[in-house]
Symmetry: C2
Subunit: 334 residues, 2 copies
């Protein structure tokens, strides 16, 4: 049975505000390097005031993944909240223009919070330090989840960041229930080690009850399933989720399913801006999976997509991902 969507993603809808800074700027402004920090409007204004000229590009972790799947030609849709303002309309346009359905109505123009923004400070080493003002993206309520749309998905893709904020988990549970009732599967990304620390119990519940496929990087894996080695953490994770995929930057990705373990190498790339590497890995992986490829090829596809996105500024693909997969000998059928 062909479903309407291969993947439906749910997450924090964000516009990224990208700026090059040096490490001294991070220090002087109390920005922790390489992770995501949640900030309020006041801090956002202060930081923006100190930042140099920036550029604005649609972002949001799961949104980047869905954009990547759409760029690969996949049937995909996104759920996440923006306000009816200029940045919200930019977000919606970019999602639809990429070929994904965007399913969430705008929050009214007079909402107290604006469309969410992530100030992405990129240092010369390509590392990105993210400062997120969630804005209306926090207010994704159960009524924003339309069960029929969830039931139309082969896979749900849930963003861990979306656990921050009121009532978010109710929306996730409603989405998962609708998807599973229709025979759909559920994937989750842990998003960030501090996000894991904030929501470990809720993550554990969802993973144990619903998650078929868990995405994480090594830091998030260590936070979620503490153990002396990556392999040991992976073993624990694999006892909770059917399939676990752990990315490890330039060391590629590790996959665990039941007793099976394997590793794929990263695709060599010059890191201009690491933003979106994990998101695009998930895009390549899920695209492969929903087109009938084996797990190892799926992981390779993830690595190819990740290598593309770190080669330029911004977390959405800029070149033809299908052509890239072909260049790497990864059969692009579907």
């Amino acid at each position: 049975m062909t479903r309407k969507y291969q993947v439906v993603g749910i997450g924090n809808a964000m516009v990224d505000v990208l700026c090059h800074v040096d490490d001294a700027f991070l220090e002087a402004n109390g920005v922790q390097k390489g992770i995501m920090q949640l900030i309020g409007l006041e801090r956002a204004a202060e930081l923006y005031d100190r930042m140099g000229p920036a550029r604005e590009v649609s972002g949001g972790s799961a949104a980047n993944t869905i954009a990547g799947i759409a760029a690969l030609g996949g049937r995909t849709a996104y759920v996440g909240k923006v306000r009816d303002d200029q940045l919200g309309r930019i977000f919606a346009h970019d999602m639809r223009a990429q070929g994904a359905d965007y399913l969430t109505p705008f929050a009214p123009a007079d909402s107290a919070e604006e469309t969410g923004r992530c100030m992405v400070l990129v240092t010369p080493d390509g590392e990105r330090s993210m400062n997120t003002y969630l804005g209306v993206s926090e207010f994704l309520f159960p009524e924003d989840i339309v069960p029929e749309e969830m039931a139309a998905a082969e896979w749900l893709y849930l963003e861990g960041y979306r656990f921050d904020g009121p009532e978010c988990q109710e929306a996730f549970w409603k989405a998962m229930a609708a998807a599973r009732a229709a025979g759909g599967k559920v994937s989750l990304t842990l998003s960030d080690p501090f996000c894991v620390n904030r929501h470990r119990d809720a993550f554990a519940d969802i993973i144990d009850e619903h998650v078929d496929l868990l995405f994480c990087n090594e830091h998030e894996l260590a936070a979620m399933y503490p153990a002396p080695t990556l392999q040991a953490s992976l073993d624990i994770a694999a006892s909770h989720a059917e399939t676990v995929v752990c990315t490890a930057s330039e060391r590629g990705a590790y996959v665990a399913r039941g007793a099976d373990r394997f590793h794929v190498d990263a695709v060599p790339a010059r890191v201009v801006d690491a933003t979106g590497a994990g998101d695009l890995f998930a895009a390549g992986f899920l695209w492969g999976l929903t087109n009938g490829h084996g797990l190892e090829d799926c992981a390779r596809m993830g690595c190819v997509a990740a290598a593309e996105v770190i080669g330029h500024i911004g977390a959405r693909p800029e070149t033809d991902l299908r052509a890239l997969l072909r260049e790497h000998g990864l059969g692009v059928g579907g």
Copy 2:
């Protein structure tokens, strides 16, 4: 006497919406290649709807020039109208963050028109086709010009595009009168051949009465001063303005002052996106001029700055322009 500003620029404040398209897209959507077309809100919405994912970067022709002068370390300020909305605040931030003063109060948030936008469609050859919704940038009125600020400028830099819209010329005349009364000089860019066709008489009046330095490219020069050859047009232009600088893409730039003529070569560059080439040429030239360099070196500085901006997407400098000038043996003192 050191004045507060080396250059004060006046123009249409714009946020650029940048998108890669192929030539077929231009044809299918009736977009004329390589020039600027004014469009209304409805056409803007239609075109945006058909465009692929885009990125947003502050733009505006004279604004790009002023950003370039600020990036070179010059004392500079900008006058141009945005609305108090998200894109307007982005524009103001980027200008100030680059080191330029931004002198114009926001149009109120409830203004009928929004902050101006320019949809820049970049084809694989690096050529850009611009579709401009002027928004509130049209409504720069004489009361937005503060005579003291104009009097603080060594040079005014006026954008030809700003001749489109009501009452714009009154604002220009007020600015020029204040600047000249204080001994300041006036430069003008012709902006676009069709803009010249729309406003030839007004341009002629301003050039004859006030313009000390005229910037143009060969197409604008031909439209303004029709003659059988570039040199012949240049001769006519030089009889109207003290100094005329005509850029000619990969053939560099031609300068005329009185009976003197000279030419400088372009700096070789791979064209990724031609947007802003003329704007950054003017930035390098004016920076040189107001730092006491000879006309030939000024033109070389213009070519270096132009080569930087066409090497990447977006019309604002992204690398250290002062270091680039030094690499080209162009003394960077001031």
